[in-house]
């Protein structure tokens, strides 16, 4: 018989951590992860070849912008596709039944899935960020008087991570009621596009209600990199708080819907 109490915060934390580590381990072995990682890295390195087309911007800024765009773009794809694939591979293979018939609460399972994917996206962002940093360091050494804002770059990468993890959260909400990975990843990507375009919605009007949806333009990493000074602590904390609220809301909704789900 099981020796630990099944209730209580420490037991919940332990089970959530187990599901998260399991999800991360599975995510790292996905071919999708390797594919998007390699394409993303190729695009970042490709910035060197495209620097002649920088439309007059400083070269280092162009490389940084291009790299951060790659993190955002491929990170969004990875967030939506990996979340859906990891969720449905367990459901369709019935391995999830072996988890959900144990004393594991549905919210622990969903929170574990979210944290596992967030871990994958953190590794993706760090790896791509290091690649951008290496390129910037090489070019800065070749160009006279060029200075790289390392703190700004680190903050910009962190903002990209906050953005793509929210895309994972949106996709998890869809997964909680969807019947297939294809639908869930497609819907997750559409919701991410809506969240990117949300800042263009004016006050009031027919689409005013869209404002409840998170505004991913707030995590605009390029503007962070373009600024002469690193972003203020209050801006970073504000973004982190905004992210935390929406992350909790998404996990909460996904858990509630998944709680109603039958197999």
């Amino acid at each position: 018989m099981a020796e630990f109490p099944h209730g209580g915060p420490s037991a919940s934390f332990r089970r959530t951590r187990l599901v998260a580590l399991h999800t991360l381990g599975e995510a790292l072995r996905l071919r999708l992860t390797a594919l998007l990682g390699m394409i993303g890295a190729a695009v970042v390195v490709g910035a060197l070849a495209l620097r002649e087309f920088n439309f007059g911007s400083a070269e280092l800024k162009f490389i940084g912008d291009f790299g951060l765009g790659a993190i955002g773009g491929f990170g969004t794809l990875l967030a939506a596709l990996a979340t859906a694939q990891l969720f449905f591979s367990e459901i369709q293979g019935r391995a999830a039944y072996c988890v959900l018939t144990r004393p594991v609460r549905r919210w622990e399972y969903m929170a574990g899935k979210f944290i596992g994917v967030a871990g994958l996206l953190a590794l993706f962002t760090v790896a791509m960020g290091l690649l951008i940093a290496a390129l910037l360091a090489v070019r800065a050494a070749q160009l006279e008087g060029a200075v790289v804002g390392w703190t700004a770059l680190a903050c910009a990468c962190a903002m990209q991570w906050l953005k793509v993890t929210l895309v994972a959260g949106m996709t998890l909400v869809v997964c909680s009621y969807a019947g297939s990975a294809l639908f869930a990843s497609g819907a997750g990507l559409i919701l991410a596009v809506v969240a990117h375009l949300r800042s263009f919605v004016g006050e009031g009007g027919r689409f005013g209600w869209i404002k409840v949806w998170p505004n991913l333009a707030l995590f605009d990493a390029e503007s962070v990199l373009a600024a002469t000074h690193p972003p203020s602590a209050s801006l970073l904390l504000g973004c982190a708080g905004y992210w935390a609220v929406y992350a909790l809301v998404f996990i909460g909704i996904a858990s509630y819907v998944f709680e109603q789900r039958e197999f």
Binding site: M1, E3, H6, R14, A95, C98, V99
Partner: protein, 258 residues
Amino acid sequence: MNGRARQEWAVELIGFGKSYRAGWSAKSLTAVESLTLRLASGQVLGLLGPNGSGKSTTLKALAGLLRPERGEVLVYGHPAGSLAARALVGYLPELPQFPAHLTGREFLLYCAGLSSLKQDRTLARIEQTLEWGGLRDAGPRRLGTYSKGMLQRLGLAQAILHDPALVLLDEPASGLDPAGRLALNRLIRDLAAQGKAIVFSSHLLAQAEQLCDQLAILGRGRLLVAGSPADLLGSARVESPEPSRLEQLYLEKMGSHG
């Protein structure tokens, strides 16, 4: 089976009913209708019936994977699906597929952690269940290399890993070779002798007749007949089921072949 205090029953299905929505239409399909069954600790219940008769639905309701639409489903007095009930249950789904990147041992370690098994006991218990499933040598291998029968045996191992009081097995003999089936039969009888309640579904009538203290035959979601083999067939269950002559020959050849 009457006259016992409620908490003494390992399993109680009281007027259990469940329907499924048929696609987008408002029509619903009745999976189980007003099913009442009780099972005490140390007993084996076999759910028999054709495909679509409600066997898996009944097992899933006991495991807490779906909620009863009508009636009550209780596990040792706790509503099925509650945290307290799930702590007492071990469940083998039908034809499970496990994460291919994990080894057999790693998968059982993951399951043990989710069942809150103490770490010092976990490793010994994992070795014990791998040994039972004949998977000791395959323990360090990735699950992607396992055969269907090996996955089924691993599924059985995870279902009994945490020493549950109620073991629910959906088509446990599926994919098993004759040696695996005999080992499964022995395991079910051993678990019952340890005082555990076992509910399994099967299409193998001979296996059910040999193993079960209680039989329930379902048809289109309705209970057609239930009772002990003695009540239903007029003869008591065979205590030590012997392999058939063909099984004996098969096992002999397998033994001589290594």
